[in-house]
Symmetry: C2
Subunit: 583 residues, 2 copies
């Protein structure tokens, strides 16, 4: 019987057709790792290429590459060592370990929103109250503990040189911020992205490409002056509608989104910064380009206790998937100056930006000079303490105090005007230093990959079509000889070679009936089928078949390279590839 | 004073211009990690894209993606846990650790070929004999130990689930071989590649992008039937000359290469398999495309004790670099059936291929049935032993023996024809099972990246040019307003937007004199400079400047998109971009 679970159908197809499958099967498998086969790795890379094009090249942002393994200090500074932990319980009988909060969701029907705010002790009492036992052996659980979900290792031969696999790529950008800022010639705003592997040592992941221990992330950190938070490109998206589920609705358990334009979301204060709204709008468009319609997308605001430790406002972009319901595909966080500040404090390296005032600000600077010749005799053994205390004083406060009452009390000491010399100086302040703020859109490319597959999956007349956007399809065209005799294979190989030499990704297939070969190409999502038939031998024309409509056109072989180039660059449509063929 | 060390010059330029720099500088740096800045990450990705195009798409091979963290079993099976170790000594005084063999190379002038064959004990005695002390504190060294140079971690919450960072991507292919073989519809030969990060926990790396703890590798595993080792594409490269330094020369310390064609190298037995020779020839062409001339490339054969544990013949492709001399950029190993056999034995999963005979082979099968009713009385208490011994016999040997002398002696037992029943049966053998053999070309893309930079580095009239191949340059064109007034910046921004919308990677720059902007673009390797001047405002033409010759042409803005498209696809040359401008 055919399964009706979409994830199962797609996983089965994916395994058979080289899209993806669980890794290390010959060793019994290790959950949380997935292998992308020949078609899958190409599709995922093309999706990443499009992310790059859409968010980096077009916007004039930068991409850098940093390592997956990073020294412990980075994640101590960033707060991950402290915060990147999950509650875990061990079964006392079989010693198996589980995510404590996931048990409550799975076996007691609690919501993630509810479990995420529970302390270890509260988790324990909920588990006891709801009589949850080990799903494997029905044993009782021990006390929950916090488990660090970063992969830990040592760098070099010294056991004290701790390193971690990065759980997000973002830290690679913050740690290298100083050099990048120099590269931009110290001009804000600018954005920097990393697309690369990241690692999270999940306790017991079980959702294929949706929850992986190793995955690919695109973290984009957009740096701006918090006193100039205006998004210069907002006009391009301000009328885009977003489906939002703001925190107040989540808190009331309302599941219905509101539809607002970007402009409204900002004016109503639903999204706090323009740049974040801008990236949210682009992300919506991006998912639409991958084939996810508007009504299958939404943005849900993270509640206080759900947000990552670095975020003051966060929205998850979610896509509706048949098995799991709403699943996060990107996160949008306003990280403020949290990360740069942490690294500044931890490393002692200045990472502030400097901004010039339009014209220098003329300021009066007041300073206090303690007169020890007067303080000494007055305060004796407390002299040095008094001098120290004076250095912590706001000079204008002291001056005001003298003016008002003729003296100033600091701790128990009474300071008189004669004890100090107050000088006024006029200074020119040319500008000021500040720490840039950051908004971050962050995509999981394995999830985008799976989402694209699920939304491309179609059935037509009892057959499977993978209706991938043509420029994302792993193989652009298949070349088929109609039959494998009479010189057709030789001719078809020439066509194959021509298309390869013209830069296309092409497959050659001569095994089985032409109908079966068309069906196979449709199932793996190849947009075009180029067939060499008997007429080809006479006039050097071939038929070109469209995966989605099964329509065919005929054209000269010579014309194909330029036409296909235009077709895959989305410049022309299928029907422009040749003369229609009556079927 | 200007440094004359090429590596230093390039590193300085790279740091300033956003190509690469040492990672984690704000935390004092961690050796063996390099950050690729905005230009560097793009250049490296373009080199990887070309590798992909050259070795995968054009040859019709496959690419897959697997994880960097892999379970311990994989590397126990592959032999890496046993073999991937390096000799290390610790200074007794300051406790610093060093590669024992590197100390002998650096401070006693020994060659790597010599140090690589030394045992731990021999290393110790060489270090003592040559009176090598700690380079940091002059202390004495303790006994050398072997240090596992894989990064170790645990997967999931169980401490016994060891995982390693992959030191090569190849194992990802071998472990997933079964699925890929199914994907190819079980047809040999085929090739599978992975391009991704790999990790080697070097003891004390100090050579920037040349020796990294985290780097990007392309491992390509080409599987073929060892009984059909012919390379079907050999004709394309058979007359390509290779500069080889075969083992016999290396052994005699001869440093002069021999020049042979691919055909000769095979017929003389210098390269053992056609597929390996094929990939070596392509690799030579590939490096030439990156800008490394023939005479700066060579292939050196690895000696028995230098080869990786899985290899029966290995050549390193080397490129001459000014600071380090000959440096490996790719390795070419004949891995035979070593890896698949290891994983078959370790996992118990059959990974053999099956090949049909053209027509079934009719074979006579002889079998021996011991007749216990006769053996029992004859051998008494030795009966079961005799039965066992008979089962190990080659039946045809027994039959021949009977024919010749009427009996057969096995151990001390005299077997007579009456003790056994010999039957002859005719069987049809339809085909046979075998383990495919593998040749592997393996590239380090960070080294290709550095090599490309060093060979692109030119000086012209006292200025720096980075003469990168135009399709590899990170930025295709810079758009400049001649001056930043009179409406030129606005016009230039329109040109910039047009080129961005046409899919090019373009920069806009209006700061500083036009001469300085040209110089900056030349230094970062941007092939074209598009300048908007006063004439542009009259007739919508711009000048286009060539980075290498500094020549300029003029053309209509509208014409640029199509012309640049052709130019970057290497279809037309610079002079075809417009009418020459007199300078």
């Amino acid at each position: 019987m055919r399964s009706t679970d979409k994830f199962e159908i797609i996983s089965e197809m994916a395994k058979r057709r080289g899209y993806f499958w669980p890794s290390f099967e010959i060793y019994g498998g290790v959950s949380g790792f997935v292998t992308l086969g020949p078609l899958g790795s190409t599709l995922k890379r093309k999706i990443e290429g499009r992310l790059r094009d859409f968010f980096i090249r077009r916007l004039g942002l930068f991409e850098i590459e940093t390592s997956v393994i990073m020294p412990g200090k980075v994640f101590e500074a960033s707060g991950h060592v402290e915060a990147f932990q999950e509650p875990m319980v061990e079964c006392k009988a079989c010693k198996r370990k589980f995510r404590a909060d996931h048990l409550l969701v799975e076996f007691a029907g609690m919501s993630e929103t509810d479990t995420e705010k529970l302390s270890l002790q509260e988790l324990m009492s909920e588990i006891n109250k709801r009589e949850i036992h080990c799903p494997e052996c029905d044993g009782n659980f021990g006390e929950p503990k916090r488990f660090l979900t970063m992969f830990k290792t040592t760098i070099g031969p010294y056991s004290e040189s701790i390193g971690y696999g990065r759980p997000e790529a973002a830290q690679g950008i913050f740690v290298e911020y100083k050099r990048i800022y120099e590269y931009t010639r110290e001009k804000l705003p600018f954005g920097v992205a990393i697309i690369g592997h990241a690692l999270r040592n999940e306790i017991s992941p079980r959702q294929g490409p949706i929850r992986l221990r190793e995955f690919t992330i695109m973290d984009l950190e957009f740096f701006f002056d918090p006193e100039k938070p205006q998004c210069i490109m907002l006009r391009e998206v301000e009328n885009e509608t977003l489906r939002l589920l703001p925190a107040e609705r989540v808190l009331k358990d309302v599941d219905e989104t509101i539809e607002v334009t970007v402009k409204e979301a900002l004016s109503k204060g639903l999204i706090r910064t323009e740049w974040q709204a801008f990236f949210m709008a682009l992300s919506k468009r991006f998912l639409a380009e991958l084939g996810v319609p508007e009504e299958k997308q939404r943005f849900i605001e993270k509640l206080d206790w759900e947000r990552a430790h670095y975020s003051v406002q966060g929205y998850d972009q979610q896509v509706y998937l048949e098995r799991w319901g709403w699943v996060e595909v990107s996160g949008h966080n306003y990280r403020t100056d949290y990360d740069l500040r942490c690294h500044m404090e931890f490393s002692g390296v200045d990472m502030t930006a400097f901004k010039k005032h339009k014209k220098p600000i003329i300021k009066e600077e007041i300073s206090i000079k303690p007169l020890t010749s007067k303080i000494g005799p007055a305060f004796k053994e407390d002299t040095s303490r008094v001098v120290k205390l004076l250095s912590t004083l706001d000079p204008s406060e002291l001056e005001a105090s003298f003016k008002k009452q003729g003296f100033h009390i600091i701790k128990s000491f009474k300071i008189l005007p004669e004890h100090v010399e107050i000088t006024h100086k006029t200074v020119k302040e040319k500008g000021k230093r500040f720490i840039p703020h950051v908004v971050e859109p962050s995509f999981g490319s394995d999830r985008l990959f799976y989402v694209t597959l699920e939304y491309a999956y179609k059935r037509k007349e009892g057959r499977t079509l993978l209706s991938l956007p043509r420029d994302l399809a792993p193989v652009g065209a298949s070349v088929f000889p109609l039959v494998s005799k009479d010189g057709l294979p030789e001719k078809a190989r020439q066509v194959y070679r021509l298309l390869i030499d013209s830069g296309f990704t092409v497959e050659y297939d001569e095994s089985g009936s032409i109908g079966r070969r068309y069906a196979r190409a449709d199932e793996v999502g190849t947009p075009l089928g180029v067939t060499v038939d008997y007429q080809t031998l006479k006039d050097d024309t071939v038929t070109v078949r469209d995966r989605d409509t099964w329509r065919q056109v005929r054209n000269k072989i010579d014309e194909l390279p330029e036409l296909l180039n235009a077709y895959f660059r989305l410049k022309i449509e299928f029907k422009e590839l040749g003369q229609p063929v009556e079927s």
